[in-house]
């Protein structure tokens, strides 16, 4: 069933056709596809390297812990071997259990980084084992040995002949050969195994440990794992093994998989990796909320991506994949995305825009809105003169850039304020805030209202720390825009300090309470409480409160000024990608729904007048398979074929009766029978029914619901 097609050899040269070419024939009009494609690629590569760096940074803590654990356990091991008394106990294998979370897809990267780190810092002998390679102990040993030997070969830079022999060695793989190999490598005693006469770098350390990483502990068969542990614990004197388990669920799994007698051979220490939510938060922070990358996600798209993450897979890898798809789709479909690059580049490219592209700019809805806001003279100039248009576009792009910068800063400030409020009206995470801001005007939402009200009741210390944080945020940015704001905020701070000094006299608020404590009898207490209430109601605001209002109002004004949603910016189409449907279709498809609508409602796909039907009923002119499907929906779990055929032929006859008379009914019946068979076997292929053995001539339905 497999057929290979090869092009004729002379054509082969052509095979390496540029991907950019595919970019071209897609977008019909514009000529700068090459440029666009390269912008897209470079952007994607930047982002990719950035994400990898982020991942590395995040895992650093975990890896440091692991490294210290390995060092510790290994040095212990060496001590132990010297002391005979400890030899009794030294059957224990040091083991690190990494709890990695359910996002299996991200683990590969983690393990790759881990083995790199280990290789650089501790030992050249690392083997990565995956469950799918090791159905039995034999395969496991084979794999392990192969990897270890290749490891050392790689590090030693040996000649080919040696590596050849190594691969031959794979045939007789046992623990003893492994031990022999290890001895020969570490101590250079080349007596038994002739192929390993070599100077290895491992003389620097005294017998480096051999690290074996089990990538997915859960999917290993217990028997293999147990046998391996028992075997290796026998050899732990000669071969300092360290095991690392990658665990996706919880540490309980170790005890479920391994009986007590086995797990007592392990000396387990747990390590927790970073939760994927935090990982996502940093990714969003570093990728989306910077001005470093010109490409931005619209609100809906971001929402879809986050939803897929939170509700389906918890996988950062998939999030980034979705992001990549967004980038590709954006640069593919939007001809103006050529301007989606750093500001300086964009300005250059604006100058060299063609006439078609200028027309494209004029067609943008946001630009139209902008034109309508101008005076008529300018309007004419914008719509007719290309040079003037280019100038304006440059200015607008600059505005857009400034807007983005300010947006991020103010967003962070607002987050500082709202995240500490009780009940988190605007969300705990920065991404939630970002989404609400993109969605519409923040200050018109109810949540924002309540957040501000809560902010007005903040106490002083919190307020001061928050202000300080805000100042830090503003100072860290280089933009000149916020010099004034920083000054203003600093002024607030100094005022607060002054207030603090002024507040030393406590009589304003403290005195009534002191009185309260003095008075003990009930009547007086009631009276004073009432009094207190009165006074509070009409009390003049203290200086502090005045100031507090002022600060909150100021923040409010900042928000109003800078957090205008992106869609109201002119030319936002160039950098914002907002077609969520594309993403949803291609990443999170629903094949069952597609099949269902096609069967129930063929009119969606086949635009024919005859297929149009009202409500739930299906017209009898629908394709055969749709009719058969509809009829089968009306049955229970078991369907009688004869009845089904009867119903089918009735429906089809009714459809055909108008144009054919009953004379040739014999042959017609045969044809209908054949069509029915075809429809039924198609339904079987699609998985709606299966032949049933319970009754003769019946089929079983495999889906639920129906009429």
């Amino acid at each position: 069933g497999c057929f290979v097609f090869k092009p004729s050899p002379k054509k082969r040269k052509m095979v390496s056709l540029e991907t950019a070419a595919e970019f071209r024939d897609s977008s019909s009009d514009s000529e700068d596809t090459n440029l666009r494609f390269h912008t897209c690629q470079s952007l994607w590569h930047q982002i990719k390297s950035e994400t990898e760096k982020i991942q590395e940074d995040l895992n650093k803590q975990l890896f440091d812990n692991l490294l210290s654990f390995l060092r510790r356990s290994h040095s212990e091991f060496q001590e132990k071997t010297t002391k005979w008394t400890c030899q009794m106990k030294s059957k224990e294998i040091p083991t690190a259990a990494l709890i990695l979370g359910v996002n299996v897809t991200d683990h590969n990267m983690t393990f790759r980084n881990l083995s790199e780190v280990l290789q650089n810092n501790i030992t050249p002998y690392i083997a990565l084992l995956e469950a799918k390679d090791c159905p039995g102990v034999k395969n496991l040993m084979q794999k392990l040995l192969g990897q270890l030997m290749n490891c050392s070969v790689d590090l030693d830079f040996l000649e080919d002949e040696n590596s050849l022999q190594v691969s031959q060695n794979r045939i007789r793989c046992s623990m003893t050969s492994l031990v022999h190999w290890y001895e020969s490598v570490t101590k250079k005693t080349d007596s038994e195994t002739p192929s390993k006469t070599r100077t290895s770098p491992s003389k620097h350390w005294q017998s480096p440990p051999v690290v074996v990483i089990f990538k997915d502990m859960e999917s290993f068969t217990t028997k293999v794992l147990q046998d391996f542990i028992v075997i290796s614990s026998q050899h732990i004197h000669e071969l300092p093994l360290v095991l690392i388990f990658g665990i996706a669920t919880s540490p309980m799994i170790i005890h479920n998989l391994l009986p007590h007698s086995i797990s007592s051979l392990l000396c387990i220490e747990l390590f927790q990796s970073l939760s994927c939510k935090e990982h996502l938060a940093t990714i969003i922070d570093k990728l989306l909320l910077t001005t470093q990358f010109p490409f931005k996600l619209g609100e809906k798209v971001l929402q879809v991506l986050i939803n897929i993450f939170l509700y389906h897979d918890f996988s950062v890898q998939n999030f980034i994949k979705g992001y990549q798809l967004c980038i590709v789709e954006h640069f593919y479909s939007q001809p103006l995305s050529v301007l989606c690059c750093q500001l300086a580049d964009a300005k250059m490219r604006v100058n060299s825009l063609s006439q078609d592209q200028c027309e494209n700019i004029r067609m943008l809805p946001s630009f139209r809105r902008y034109v309508e806001g101008q005076v008529s003279k300018k309007q004419i100039a914008l719509l007719t003169e290309d040079s003037y248009l280019k100038e304006t576009v440059q200015k607008l792009l600059e505005d857009l850039h400034v807007y983005q910068e300010n947006y991020v800063l103010v967003l962070r400030c607002l987050h500082v304020f709202t995240s500490s409020l009780p009940k988190h009206p605007l969300g705990k995470q920065l991404r939630e805030l970002h989404c609400t801001c993109l969605e519409g005007r923040v200050w018109e939402t109810e949540e924002y209202e309540s957040a501000l009200q809560l902010a007005r009741m903040l106490n002083k210390t919190d307020l001061v720390t928050m202000l300080q944080q805000c100042v830090e945020i503003f100072v860290s940015s280089s933009g000149k825009e916020f010099d004034k704001t920083v000054e203003k905020l600093k002024e607030f701070l100094t005022q607060f300090q002054k207030l603090e000094e002024a507040f030393q006299d406590p009589d304003v608020s403290m005195s009534p309470q002191k009185e309260l404590q003095k008075k003990t009898d009930l009547y007086h207490l009631q009276e004073t409480l009432l009094e207190l209430k009165e006074s509070r109601r009409c009390k003049k605001l203290t200086k502090f409160e005045m100031l507090r209002f002022e600060v909150v109002d100021y923040i409010d004004s900042l928000v109003r000024k800078h957090l205008v949603p992106a869609e109201q910016q002119t030319l936002h189409e160039i950098v914002y990608f907002n077609t969520a449907s594309v993403l949803r279709e291609h990443l999170n498809a629903a094949p069952r729904i597609a099949v269902h609508t096609a069967l129930n409602n063929p009119h969606c796909y086949l635009k024919n007048q005859a297929l149009k039907s009202d409500g739930g009923s299906l017209s009898n002119k629908a394709p055969d398979i749709c009719i058969a499907y509809r009829l089968h929906l009306e049955c229970g779990r078991l369907i009688n074929l004869a009845d089904w055929l009867e119903a089918f032929s009735t429906v089809v006859m009714a459809a055909e009766r108008p144009n054919a008379d009953a004379a040739s009914s014999e042959q017609e019946e045969d044809i209908i029978h054949a069509r029915f068979i075809r429809a039924v076997s198609e339904l079987e292929l699609l998985g709606f029914i299966k032949p049933s053995k319970q009754k003769t001539d019946h089929v079983a339905r495999l889906t639920w619901g129906g009429c």
Partner: protein
């Protein structure tokens, strides 16, 4: 089956114009697919209707100048091994044999990593067919598709097809989903489907063989295996009449598969009902047992059994 086809040919296809329109709509996506394949995604097509013609069109219109492999997943005796074989033998021009599919896969991966100029488009019709839907075959295909220079386009039809992929496989496959509802009839695909409405003649297919055997007891499977092995040993002997019942009984007893003449006869009757074996009376009046399946299918079957 023949008459069925003949009858169906007579009926004109309804709504041919509309279907044509749909197909044209899908064909506009070809260049986009190529782009996305090159960027490391793989494409999976779903929707009602056969997607065979569409993929064929994709081959002829876009892929003429490159190496591509077409896999007919609906073909009932296809295995992963045959896919891997055709890659190693015809694409990589390698003649050696391999012990197991994983080893073969390793070899392929190594070759593709070494030689960056190698590019291969793999088109799989019906990735979710009976023979390819197993966990192990999917794992191997997923690993294959994760290679950056192998581009995979597959089509699925079964409504529960996505169930066969877990997170790890999905991330290896790196799918982009495309809905391509074509409404065209599944002619090729259902021609292999052993529909109960049509009594099919001809030799047994591997998939149906596996299917029947899966529902048997362990001992019954052992009995069949014994017979199959014996037949394969004797396959070069042209005058081999089959295994006589007495010898077979002896062998089964030695393997602790049956304990009496009667149980073996009952078992053989069951096989005969499913057309798994045939009995012949020899010249000397002894019953001879033969499996009426061609040898290659039998070899495939034994291999599959070994893997499980």
């Amino acid at each position: 089956q023949q008459t069925l086809c003949g009858l169906l040919k007579k009926t004109p296809l309804d709504y041919a114009a509309e279907i044509e329109e749909l197909n044209q709509q899908h064909e506009t996506l070809f260049s986009k697919w190529m782009l996305q394949l090159h960027l490391g995604f793989n494409i999976v097509l779903y929707g009602l209707g056969s997607k065979r013609d569409l993929l064929e069109k994709f081959c002829t219109s876009v892929l003429q100048d490159s190496v591509y492999l077409v896999v007919n997943g609906y073909f009932p005796s296809i295995t992963v091994r045959s896919i891997l074989n055709s890659i190693t033998e015809e694409v990589l021009d390698h003649t050696g044999t391999f012990h197991s599919p994983p080893e073969q896969l390793e070899f392929i991966i190594k070759r593709f990593k070494e030689d960056s100029s190698l590019e291969l488009y793999v088109l799989i019709h019906n990735l979710d067919s009976q023979m390819l839907r197993g966990e192990r075959s999917q794992q191997i295909l997923a690993q294959l598709s994760s290679l950056p220079s192998i581009y995979l386009i597959a089509s699925i039809d079964h409504i529960n097809a996505p169930l066969m992929w877990d997170q790890a496989k999905l991330s290896l496959y790196n799918w982009l989903w495309y809905e391509t509802t074509t409404f065209s009839p599944y002619v090729e695909e259902t021609s292999y489907e052993n529909s109960f409405l049509v009594q099919k003649s001809g030799s047994l297919a591997l998939s149906s063989l596996m299917h029947v055997l899966c529902s048997l007891t362990l001992n019954a499977r052992g009995i069949f295996r014994l017979l199959a092995q014996y037949q394969l040993e004797k396959k070069d002997n042209l005058s081999y009449p089959g295994l006589s019942f007495q010898d077979f009984y002896q062998q089964c007893r030695e393997a602790f598969l049956v304990n009496s003449d009667l149980t073996l006869r009952a078992q053989l009757t069951e096989f005969r009902d499913h057309k798994l074996i045939r009995t012949k009376r020899g010249a000397d009046g002894v019953e001879y047992l033969v499996i009426p399946v061609d040898d290659s299918t039998l070899i495939n079957f034994l291999e599959n059994e070994d893997e499980d």
